[in-house]
Each structure stands twice: as structure tokens, then as C-alpha cells.
């Protein structure tokens, strides 16, 4: 293994996969761009709680998984194995890049390690389709797959603003707790008992804040609202992913910088436990 992890470390892992997208390719290149933003010289590595990710040896980059240009079950299995290998050390995983189809194997690996796992899913879309033209592994389906196959305590979705009838039916079937943008308020308090996995789709943000995503869905969260949500929800954060950055639509790297900011805040919270 090209990395050396200890319990409580934070393990960055890149997932260069985008062939499960329905509209545009691009998220396969997200890991490199987020790293570039993290080290861009335009910012430092200190989270807002004062944790300096550049000063600790507990924040480690474990490189990219070998899933580039793959489709179907094979890369899904590799992602689950890659996640499992890292969290087996007791480290916390922070997965970067890919379309949202990567969340299914990432959460599966966590659900097997953490009993009573909860999911905080921040997104403009519920991603609960039973299937898409591209099949049941499409990037609009991962939370249906998760709810069907994993032991999940609660799935709470924040930022939703595209709920349609087929997904509404799935949400009811799986007892998803949906906090849509009509009910969202910055002072809303979100509480979990037990371990929490955070799945953060950048299109939860308004396109003003995160233009570099495949699906522009206006009326979303601000970057500040998401930072505060990351820092303030109650529960034991154990792992996370940041998905759907599409560098092809991010000409000035602003969205990559937003993702890097989230890396710092999530990393800071994971390390400060």
C-alpha cells in the first residue's frame, strides 16, 4: 500500500470516475484540481477552527484509485475495496472527486465498519432514482442502492430542490428525511446520534458559488451555509466525500477552491475529535 495510516488520521483519496454521469464528463479530473487548489499559493491550510492541516502529520494524501475511464460494477467494487483498505486502519476517509455514483461503494464500506451509520447528504438532487438510461449505477441512483443494500440508521438530505414524483415515492419508501430549500433555514439545527457519513455534492450550492458542476440548479445554498453546516451539525463525523466537481465548467478554478475549502473544514472537524 503506498500509504501509511494510523487510527484517527485523515486519508485523502481521489476517485477519477465520471462515466456514470448522464449529461457531461469531467468529474474524473476533479481530484487533481482540488489538490491544485489546496496547494495553490493563494490560501493557507488552516481550517476556521484553527486546525492547521499543513502542520500535522495526521492529514495524508493516499493518491487516486485506479478507476479512470471505467464503467459499471468493476470500478464500484474497486472503490469499495479502496475505501475499506483505508478505514480498516482506523483512519477517516475523505474522498475527492468523481460523479455521485461513487457514494454508493464509499458508504457501503463505512456501513460495514460503523454500526448504526447515519448519512448527511447535501445535494440539490435526491439521487434516489431506481434506474436511469445509463442503468442502476447512474449518478442519479446511489442513495437508492445504499438504502437497499446497507444498514443505515437515518438518511437526511439537505439542499434538495428538484424533487419529482418518482423520487418522492422512493423517498417515502426508504423513509428519507428531506430538508428541501423551502424548509431550509441557516439556523436549522441538525442532530444525529452515532456515526455520521457526509456526502457532499457541490451542486447543492447555488451555481453562483459553484459554477463548476454538470447540473446548474439555481436557488441553492451559499458556501458559508455549507461551511457552517459542516462545522455545526451534531454527531460523530466518521467519513466524507466531495463529489461532482466538473473542471470543464470551472474556468477560473473557483469551484475547485470551494471544494478545497470544504476539505479543510471537513479535515479540521475529523482531526479535532
Amino acid at each position: 500500500m503506498p500509504y501509511d495510516l494510523n487510527p484517527g488520521d485523515v486519508a485523502l483519496m481521489g476517485v477519477p470516475l465520471d462515466l456514470h454521469s448522464t449529461f457531461l464528463q469531467g468529474p474524473a479530473f476533479a481530484p487533481g484540481r482540488i489538490r491544485e487548489a489546496l496547494h495553490s499559493g493563494a490560501a493557507n491550510l488552516t481550517a476556521e477552527d484553527g486546525t492547521d492541516l499543513g502542520a500535522t502529520d495526521r492529514f495524508k494524501d493516499t493518491g487516486d484509485l485506479d478507476v479512470f475511464e471505467m464503467m459499471g460494477q468493476e470500478p464500484i467494487d474497486r472503490i469499495e475495496a479502496g475505501a475499506d483498505a483505508r478505514i480498516a486502519t482506523g483512519a477517516h476517509l475523505l474522498s475527492l472527486g468523481g460523479d455521485h455514483s461513487v457514494a454508493y461503494p464509499l458508504i457501503k464500506a463505512h456501513a460495514e465498519r460503523y454500526e448504526g451509520l447515519n448519512i448527511l447528504h447535501i445535494d440539490s438532487h435526491p439521487d434516489l432514482y431506481d434506474s436511469q438510461q445509463i442503468g442502476p449505477l447512474g449518478h442519479g441512483c446511489p442513495f437508492a442502492r445504499v438504502m437497499e443494500t446497507c444498514q443505515i440508521n437515518r438518511l437526511v438530505q439537505v439542499g434538495i430542490r428538484t424533487m419529482n414524483k418518482p423520487q418522492q415515492e422512493q423517498a417515502e419508501k426508504f423513509r428519507v428525511e428531506v430538508i428541501d430549500m423551502q424548509t431550509w433555514h441557516p439556523d436549522l439545527e441538525i442532530r444525529f446520534d452515532g456515526p455520521v457519513y457526509l456526502s457532499l455534492d457541490l451542486d447543492a450550492l447555488d451555481p453562483a458559488f459553484a459554477p463548476g458542476v454538470s447540473h446548474h440548479e439555481p436557488g441553492g445554498l451559499s458556501t458559508r451555509e455549507v461551511i457552517n453546516l459542516i462545522r455545526r451539525f451534531e454527531g460523530q463525523l466518521v467519513g466524507a466525500d466531495i463529489v461532482e466537481l466538473n473542471p470543464h465548467r470551472d474556468p477560473y478554478g473557483i469551484t475547485a477552491m470551494v471544494a478545497a475549502k470544504f476539505v479543510k473544514e471537513i479535515g479540521g472537524r475529523l482531526l479535532s475529535r
Copy 2:
């Protein structure tokens, strides 16, 4: 007539007119771009209240008016006639594109059908000039024309942040109720008795949310604030326009997507009555 409307239907109508603009051409191409965003494959057609505009036969596109590259009274008359023909069927009009000069004939047609018509005007500018270099039909003048020639119960303006002395005098003369950005608050409640026409200039939004307009006026509304305003004001919405999208300043189509989002929310409200 190339369309078949019934009472209560929502009739989309494109107005490709921009020669009454003072600064830049472009809004003549807005109708095509908003349609493109509506059908872009990056979003679905369900409004946030659950109304699926793609599943009903009451949401109809009646095409573009023949006013392209026209100036002066002729296109104004054609717009009034086009609006009148559609609302005569009992349908609700949702007009797309053009500079703001199109609001005058659109509102005139509504004022003649709806007694006691109120106007909810969302904009960064009051558009109350008596005249401009381009004449009294310029895109900075339509609400002066409306107040002079139509029977309007109340004109309420939201988002204003460019009030100057000549327009202040006009606002007082016409008893316009101006809610400028200094007094605006997201929890403000807006109530009308009777029918309401909504005129929505995209530059009411902050340029961060809607860069694709001719006049960037910083310090404006967020997309979420406008969505909530559309959904929450009290009164009977009877018709609407979305104006001043300038595709020449919208390189990634983000503003067209915002306009499409408003089409869905306005359409949903019009259909749910």
C-alpha cells in the same frame, strides 16, 4: 393561431425585442435560450411545489412574436395584440425575453382584462423615466407609460437600488410603493387584494446570481429570495414576464438556467390555482 389554449392554461410566449435598450443588444435572443435551458437535460420540469410542467397538457409554448429587429410603436402594438389574443382564451400568459420595454404592452393587455390589476415589479431599477435618449418607449420608461395609460390598483417595486431624483419624483407622482434593498428583508410579507401581474427583470438579482444582463447592479437579491417571493406573496397571480436576459453576457448559460427556474416556479403557481 398556431396554438390551442383553454382557460387556466399557461401560455409561454417569446418576445424577441431589444432595440429599445440603451446600452447593449442581446435580449432579443433570450426566448430561445430560456427554452434551451428548460429542456437542457441538466434539470427536470418539476416546480418546487411538485407541479410537473412536463406531465401536464396545460403548459403550452405558443412560440415567438414577430417583432425581431423592430423599434418604436409597431412592435409595442404587436406585443399588446399577441398578449391579448392569448389571454382572451382565459389562459395565463408567461412572456419570455425582450428588454423591459415589453412590459408596457403586456401589462396594458392585462389591465384591460383584469379590473383592479396590481403589479409586482421585481427589478434593480424603477424604470419610471419620463423619457430617455431613445425616446419614451425606452427600456427605462415602461412603468411611467403603464401608470399614465392603464387602470392600475397598486404598483409595488421590490429590489430597487438605483433610485435617483428624476425617478423619485415620478415614483411620488404615480404613488409607487418602493421596497428598496435597504428596506428589503427575506421575511417581508407582500400582500395584494385581487389580480396580480408579475414583471420580473433579471437584474433585480445580484450579478453573482444573474451575470447575463445588460446592467450589472451589485447588491441585489439572491435567486432563492426571488423564488420564495414568487411562491409566497399573497394575491391572485394572473400573468407574468421575465425580461432583460442578455445571452451575450451569459457565457455559461447560468442566467438562462435561472430564468428557466423562474418559469417553472411561476408556471407551477399559475397552474396550481
Copy 3:
């Protein structure tokens, strides 16, 4: 002197300096771009309080200082002298452009004229480094220089979100009052006794609102929040700067327009005293 100032006038002054930047050049070109935005034909010159900067003869442009392509102590001295010459007339200075290193000599000139000077510093960075690779005049150091050499009553920082350990130590040493983005709230009231100098770094804004800066730091203030802060803080505003606009990262001039909006609001407040 190529300008004729009277007590109470507002004197615009351009400072084309950017060689104290650590990452990218560009802010030397900001003065011209802000003037271009002020006179762009896409907006008028009336502030939100009704002051029309185009109708008064008390709002005067005194041109650019001769510091282009300079580095080190020489331009710093020229800026102090240029500021001093203008404020010696009793006019209020509104300085445009440059990287943030220009704040040191600007504030020095004010501190010598105004006893008990306070500073309201709006920024994403504390700019309190003792030194940088580029030396002690680098654009990350001006408030360390100010606190060491000037008589300052209070230094209040708003918008901070990059505080790291070395700067935290400096902040404590100089008793800086830091209102970081975790504690910021739009309804926060800020009060000063006596004269106030406002130093406004455009990267205090979220990159969604001000992309045209060298350092994108997500999670910042909205343009509206800054406008309201400018208008509402209590105290006697006596001078101001607007810094760090980088036209190379502002392809559509949106950030220059934001700066021009702030010129109008700051100018309106300075004139309305």
C-alpha cells in the same frame, strides 16, 4: 497640484501598485477599471441614500499617483505624501486600487491628522504577518506595520476566515478585534467613538460576488452585507481605500462594478456628513 480641493470634498485617488503582491500581479490596473465602471453607461452615480455624485462638485477625481512598477520604500513614501497632500486640504480621501500594501502609508497619513483614529478593516485575511518572502512591506503585512508605527485607537477586522497561528499571535499582540466569519451576522452592530478609516479588501466578499481578486477565499460576505456595513456602522468616517481588485481575474468587469458601487456608497456617506 492638478486638483483643487476644499474641506469636506471627497478626493478620489488611484494607486497603481502591485509589486508587493505574493501571488499575481494585476491590482496596479484597478484604478482605471473602477473609473471605467463608474462611468460605464450601465449605471447612474446616485448612492442608495440619494446622494448624486454626478450632480455635486464636491466629488473630485485627483488622478493616479506615480508609483507604477515600483517596489519597496519609495512607493510607500509617495503614497503617504500623496494622501497627506490631499487630506491637508480638509478633503476626505477615497483611494482606489493597488494591493493591500498601500493601506499602511494611507493609514499613516490619516493617523497623523486624526487623533484617536479607528480602523474598520474588511477582509478575508488579517494581513498581520510580521514579514513575507517579499519582505515586511508585502501585501500580507500592512496592519502589522500600522500597529507598530501609528497611534491607532482600535483596529476592528470583519470578514476574516484565514486566521492561522502566526497571525493569531500578532492579533493578540496588537489587541486586534477580530470578527471572523463564524461570529459575523448581518445584524451585528459595529460602533466606534471618533474618526474611522475604512480599509476594504475586495476579497472579503465571497468569490461569487467578487471573482476579480488574486486570492479566492470562499465563504465570504455578500455585496449587500458590505453595502449595509458601510452605511450602518456608527462613527465618523474620515477616509477609505478599496484594494486588491485584480482585473486579470475579472473578465466581465463584475468586480470592478462592485468596487464602483462601494465608491458610490462610501462617497455618499463621506459627503452626507
Copy 4:
């Protein structure tokens, strides 16, 4: 039929299809953008040979085919039928938009009407793959399908600069005449006996001239070279397509304007016969 064509007319036809693309969607929106550029007010409708397409009633827009968001054999059949219906009147077809998979049914329709049909194929890619991940109808395969199923006299390819081994074998099998960029010269003379169909992939152009395509392949033709090629090759031009415009990568509409220029030059040549 919503159009009325006579022998010798030029029939514009839009083909909004892009789900046979391997990398990015977008070309489905090309027809609208090319029409927008044709009528943009920034240019007139006169070809360089003096033919004014705006002054003749022989240049007719027959609208878009109903293939949006389709995949597989169904849209291919519709395109063949749509082309056939138009050329059956004796009109010349000029097809706009879509990915290159549309060329197969377009050429098939022509090959059945015109005995001894030749093809002038301008492209950076030979598009001769036997199959792609997306199947045998992928946009990298149309000329393999054409050569297998149609009676073609000669297939001449110009602009090629991505020939690899599998396509080289196909080129030899089908006796394709490949003029790659190493052998291309602006003074090269190209001559056909009999009818010629022109299939013009915009990525034949260097990305400097046509950035708005899915596949940037540097080292290509200039716009002037393609205009001159269109006007100067010998043979009887009978129909044409312009494909692979991707508006998502054409923020300033420059590539759409290039396509509109080609519409004028091809239209002028078709009408001047």
C-alpha cells in the same frame, strides 16, 4: 409537411441529436445557435460570391427534426426519412447540428437519390471506427457505416490529424482517400466527377478558430482555408451537413458564427448552380 420546397431550393434542417457522443453532450443545441448567429444583427446574409440568402425565396428553413434526447436506431431512421422527404422535392439539403453520427443517415438518403455519389469529408478524425463503447452508431463510426451500406464512388477526407492503427486499417479496407494535415496545403486542388456530398465537422478547424467543439484537436485548418475549400473544389455539390458544434464550449458564440459563415458559403454555392 411544414415547408414548401421546389427543385433547386436550399432546405435548412436542424438535427438536435447528441446522445451518440462519447465525451460531452451539447451538439443537440447547435441548430438554434447557428440560426441565432445567422440572424444576429452582427452580420449580413450575403455570401462571398455575392449571393444574398436574405433576398432569395429559395433559401428555406424547414425546422428541426423530432429526435431530441433520442438514442439508437430510431433517430437514425428519422433523420434518413427527414432528409429523404426534403431531397425528394429536388431541393438541396443543408443539415445543421448534431454529433457526427447524423452523417450516416443523411448520406444514406443522398446515396439513394444520387448515383455515383462522392463524399468530401472535412474533419480532424477519420470517424471510421467499426464500433465504440457506445456501439456501432457512435459519433466515431459513421463513415464505416456509410461505406458498408451505401454506394459511394469516392470518400475523400481532409484535415485528418488523429489517424491511429484501427482506423488506418478501416481506411485501407474502404479505400478512403485521406489528405491528412501533413499533406494538406491551401493550394491543393480537389476534383470530383459527379455529385458531391459535403460533411463538415467543425473540429476540422484548429481550436483557435472553432473552440466550441467537444474534441479540441490542435493543428487544424483555418476558417479561411475551409471557406476557400468549400468554394473551390470541383464537382457538383448536392447536399451538406455542418456537425459537432457544442454550444457548451462556445461561450462567446464565435464557433456558432463560424458555422453561420459556412451556411452562407455552402448555401451560396448550392444556389448559384
Copy 5:
């Protein structure tokens, strides 16, 4: 007069005028942007013939004319007067910015000083309309005005690719020598007897080289071809203008840099006489 000119000097003069444009405003801001590019730190001031414009005191910037936001005869008269005042000193004028309507008064001033004046007009459009919607001073008309009112020996146009019937008739009436893009060749030799005024519309260039113009007309000259033309035509260059730069369409300043390059090459030729 705010400048001090001697015979043989080159006098830069900015002309911030764009209200005679038919499509988009913007060229009024060109003078500032060209100066910014000249002094950008990304290039030096040496022309390709070795003349260093930064080392001579014969290259002088005489500032901008006071014509901003004017329309009609008044700015035209001011431009003629401004040009005349400068060339009366024996200096050579190099006018920057504005739409092409500025060429009429500029050439008029030269024609009165230089007997037998020739014009080398580099453009994609002949600009020979008798009138436009905006009137006879529109930016599509200046060479009709010139030929009607000035004593011109020869008018030679290079780069033309939009000739239509009304302009063809004007070209014949005024005996204009049109070298259109079909006949243009880089090795073409152009010779004049006597004084030559150069009017350079940046849209003569292909949009790949000069995107920052209001009218994108593909199929144009390369920057290199224009540089070589400036340096190689035979005749006595006496004055020049560079027009139609539109900074609103030049997000990265590339076209301003092209204009600055032409300033250096024209300036070098004017000084080397």
C-alpha cells in the same frame, strides 16, 4: 494644450466614442485598455524594426478627446478639431479607440493637410453605406462620407468579406479598390504614391486573433498578416487610427494586446521615416 508636439513626433490620441455603433457599445473604453496593454509589464515597447518607443521622446500620449457619451455632429466636429490641432504641429497622429465613425473626421483633417491623400483601409466591412438606422454618421458609413467630402486620391480596402449589393454599388460609384479575402494573399504587394492614411478596423482580423470586437466575421486576416502589411506597403505613412476594439468582448485582454502591438508597429514606421 496639454501636450507639446514637434514635427515628426507621433501623437497618440484616444477617442472614447461608441454611440454611432449599431449593435453593441464598448469601443468608448478602448483607449484606456490599449494604454493598459502597452504598459502591461507583459511586453516591452520595441517594434519589430528595433525602434524602442519607450526610449524616444518623440512618441507622446496626448490624452483622450472629450467626446464620451456624445452622439451626432458635435463629437464628429470635436474629433476633426482634435486631429487638426495635433497634425498642425507637424506631428503624426495615431488615434486609438472608438467605433469606425471616428474615421470620417480623422481622415477629413488629414485630407486638408495632405494633398493627394491615399487611404489604406483594413477591415472586414467596406463601411460604405449611404445611411443606417442610426443615420448617416453610423459606423457603417464613414467611407461614404469621406469619399463625398474629401479629396482622396485612392481608397484601397483590404480584408473585406461582407460585400453586399448596396455597398457594391457604392464601391463602384466611389471607385474603391477592394481587395477582398478571396483575392488577398500574404505576398500581395500594395503600393501608393504620396501620403497614406491607415484606418485599421480590428475586425479585419479573424475572430480567433481579435475576439474583442462587436462584429465577429470569420475568415479574416491573421495578426501576422496585418503586421507585415503595416510594415511592407509602399508609400509615405502620415497618420493612422485603430478602431472597433470592444473591451466588453475581450475578457482576457488579448485583443487589446493585439491593438498595442499594432501601436508599436505603426509608431515604429511613423518614427523611422
Copy 6:
């Protein structure tokens, strides 16, 4: 060593260094972007001579040197050592990224291995300054350093268009053969006896073809001209670098794709020996 090279292999090596630049940072991120373009899914890996870099095991990526955020002699020494370690195996080096200061140590390493080394230097600038504000290792000085310290047979420069007096004097002192853009012609034949090192600065290209560089110098080479030059000059190519890609100015990745194209053509030539 994290790579395994054999004689005749091509070794890619990234050099993430840009602190020797005078104007803008950025080229430190070039290696990642060029690799991204090489593997983008929008192109294949076959050079125009048919060499498939994806099918051979002789084309190896040896990763990035550890010089990020360094300045001065230290990174220069590391680059020389890194180059030397690779070419000591008999492999050919193809170095990616960095500002042009990296050419000095790269060439030094080659000059010590290859007796009678020639240099083909393609650039808009001669880069012969004795020193710059940033010192004698600035990115405008490397060829002065090379000529002072290495045994070089001939230095031939192509694409030059910014020669000024101080550099002209250096060119004469070092007997540099300068083929400037005035003398350049696509059919020019360039011949060397013995080994040749190719140093390719992307700003040799016209900004239309390569906008993503720090210094836009209009009037340059086309991508096709450079491809043909790479393939056609006579001599034994032994190593090469591609420098000055600045991703901050390459929003659509077009310049990175141009660099990737050159990697394929240079790689193809190196392998086909």
C-alpha cells in the same frame, strides 16, 4: 528511483516551478494540466507519424520533481540532478511545465552528456537578458546562463518578435542565430549536425492558438507551423522541454491540449529514431 528507464525510452518529467517568473505565477501547475489533457478522453495518443504512445512501453511518466514553491539556486540544482539521473540511463527526457528558467539546468545536464549539443529554441522572446529584477535566474535569462556555462555548438531561435537593444547585444555576443517572425516562413528548412535539444516556450505561438501563457505576444506561429517544425527539422533530437503554460490563463484547457499535442509529436519523433 520511482521509475525504470532503458536506453531510448522517453521519460516524461514534470517541473512545478514558477517563482522565477516576473509577471504572473501559474506555470508550476502546468505538469498536471498537460497530463490531464493527454488522458482527457477527447483525443487518442497516436502521433501524426503513426507512433502510438499508448501502445508502447517505452514512453514513461517519471513524475514531478520536488521543486514546488522554491526559488533560487536550490531548485535549479534539483532540476539539473533530476534531468541527469534520467538521461544517465540512456533515456530521452521530455520535461513538462515550469517557467522558462528551468531550461538552463535542463540544457546543462544535456550538454554534459552530448558533445556538440545544438539548441533549437522556439519562443517569442530571446530570453537572453543578463539579469532581471528577480535576478540572473529570472525566466528572461536562461539562454544567457546556458551560453556562459555550457558547451553549445549552435543556438538557433525561431519565433522571436520582441528583440530589444540589450538582448540584441547579447545575441551578438553569444552568436545566436535568430530567425525572427519577419524572416520566418513555413517552408524554411532548419538543419543541424549532431545532437539537438528542443526548448519550446508556448508563447512562441500566437495567443490565438495558445492563450494560456503569461505573456501574450501577438503575431506568432500557428500550432501547425510548430508541429511541422518539430517533425521536419534535420538533426538528432535528444531531449526537449515544453514551458510557460499558465493554467490560470487557460480557462478551457485549449493551451494544455496544444502542449499535449506537442508531447505526442516530440515523443513520436524521439521514439522513432
